[in-house]
Amino acid sequence: MSIQEQYKKRVREILSSGAVKMVIGYQAGTTADRRRPLFIRTPEEAEKLVLDSACIANLSGYLVTEGLLSDEKSVGIFLRPDGIRSINILAAEAQLNPEQVVILGFDGNEKEVTALQGEKAKDFTAIIASIKEHAPSAPRNPQLEQIEKMSPKERFEFWQAEFSRCIKCYACRQACPMCYCRRCIVDSNQPQWVNTSSHTLGNLEWNVVRAFHLSGRCVGCGNCDRACPVNIPLRLINAKMAGEVLGAFDHFAGMSETQEPVLASFKKDDSETFIL
């Protein structure tokens, strides 16, 4: 039985038994290489499910939809390891109860996907730990290395040119599982903290604000990068910040449901005097 058929069976089972009230997965999209999010509420609807290498989007952001988990019932969700890390962060940041999340885990490459054993986020701790272990030696994005070699002026010009295309549609924010604020700082208008205008300064402000808010929280799922309608390489910024946080604090986002947020925690024995 293919992994897709195995998982269809599993989805029918957990829906029929009442273990979950809904399963969030993937279905066919407009073109052969596209997949769309799918919300399955009855065993029959599981027939629409697609699970293959084109299922890339991190669906975890749907779990924090207002009211979805407030009835304390469980929801099933298809996640790759990066998505499972997102669940850990959302749990650590008190956005959801991980006990309500039934994970249908999978992983794979551009050609095929394989099933991951486990049900709750904590069942995947070993897998995530092994990803962290390999993170420092993982092949780096060649474009990122190129940017690191630039002088500060060249780098600024590079990002200035990239951000000049930004239209502030906030697709990056909306696609990001970590951007769950009911009211984003840029939407707070009394006072208006951040310019809403999509001019050079406004675009720079927005993208820098987002980069900082995601430092130590981004799992590198690439949702923002793929969502950007004008193809700004947002993934590079987040990858750079994740690398910095890993190097400076040995912090790898989404290791467990109890991991302390790196920029919202401190150690009494920190060598920096400004901490305490």
């Binding site: 407009t30 239209i167 549609c169 906030y170 697709a171 696609a175 193809n231």
Partner: protein, 337 residues
């Protein structure tokens, strides 16, 4: 006999127009992105792009634009109104859907108040459209009763030649004729055939959709919630859309000096309809998506007798969750009115 513009003369045309003081704009590809951008020579154009990432709209209605400014001095307050920049332009290689989008928005911007920013740019810009010989899976102009060679909103229509060496020239307006006078000696007579137009299959029955949308009972249909469940509430579809035109005023500055700007806004955002009291009449994403569809195919045509969609397909093409007008109207086509 028809007039023909050969591709190898285009460089001369660009130089001629630039010399005449026109900014020449066209489809340009840059690594991973494409846009309508200013060019200096013919080699800068890329006519192979099916559609640039963003529509032509931003060249007439920029994403942010200063309207008025103020400075408070010891004795007095100085205000200054910004005028739209006086710049003569020629857009060479617009797509018919993008040009149509401008014509669709003209009545809106001239309705109860004549928007000088829009109309000055409209009057000073010549739009040379190239008929499409290539389409992708998202193109849907024919479903909107337009076509890969629609002339709506264009000053000149070019049809690519079968031999790929140039274009047949159809001058449509005085503005177009005026601009092509500048290059009259670079055109030639010819009897070459135009290349076949792109085949864009009709994806939904527009009349059936409009009938369903006009039935007030369907306003509260559960359909809206079902179809928009995966909408993440970004503004990508509205900002890329050639006809979406909503904007917001924003003041930037401090007590002593500042600028009032007109910025794009989107009905997809929850803040769009948020009242000062905290009440939001469109409190759910499904209500917002319904508004977008209703506005385009019910309210806008009710007022201006034209649908607010030219079928470019960007809403689906660039949607992070593969939603869009096509899927929604396809689904509506199958419902009972």
């Amino acid at each position: 006999m028809t007039r023909i513009l050969l591709s190898d003369k285009l460089d001369n045309c660009v130089a001629r127009w630039r010399k005449a003081g026109l900014t020449v704009i066209g489809p340009v590809k840059k690594e991973t992105s494409s846009s309508y951008a200013a060019v200096e020579k013919a080699a800068d154009f890329d006519f192979g792009i099916v559609l640039p990432d963003c529509s032509i709209k931003g060249l007439f209605f920029p994403q942010t634009e200063p309207m008025t400014g103020y400075t408070i001095k010891k004795q007095d307050i100085v205000t200054n109104d910004f005028a739209p920049p006086a710049e003569k332009r020629i857009i060479f290689g617009a797509r018919p859907c993008d040009a149509s989008g401008l014509a669709i928005d003209d009545p809106l911007f001239g309705w109860d108040y004549k928007d000088d920013f829009w109309f000055q740019r409209r009057n000073e810009t010549v739009i040379v459209t190239i008929a499409c010989t290539k389409a992708d899976n998202f193109c849907m102009c024919t479903s909107l009763k337009l076509a890969p060679d629609s002339t709506k909103g264009s000053d000149v229509l070019l049809r690519p030649l079968q031999n790929n060496k140039g274009w047949l020239v159809e001058e449509l307006t005085d503005r177009g004729r005026e601009a092509f006078k500048e290059i009259a000696d670079l055109l030639q007579d010819g009897s070459e055939q135009a290349a076949p137009l792109a085949v864009v299959p009709e994806k939904f029955n527009l009349d059936a959709c409009v009938a369903w949308l006009k039935n007030p009972e369907n306003f509260d249909s559960t359909f809206w919630k079902e179809i928009s469940m995966r909408c993440i509430g970004c503004g990508s579809c509205t900002f890329l859309c050639p006809t979406c035109h909503c904007f917001d005023f924003q003041d930037e500055g401090d007590t002593y000096s500042g600028i009032r700007r007109k910025n794009w806004d989107s009905c997809s955002f929850s803040l769009f309809t948020m009242h000062t009291s905290g009440h939001n009449p469109r409190s759910t994403q499904s209500a917002r998506w319904r508004q977008r569809i209703m506005h385009k195919f019910n309210y806008f045509p009710g007022k201006f007798s034209v649908n607010s969609c030219s079928g470019c397909g960007r809403c689906t093409r660039q949607c992070p969750v593969d939603m869009g007008i096509t899927e929604t109207l396809q689904a509506i086509s199958t419902l009972k009115p």
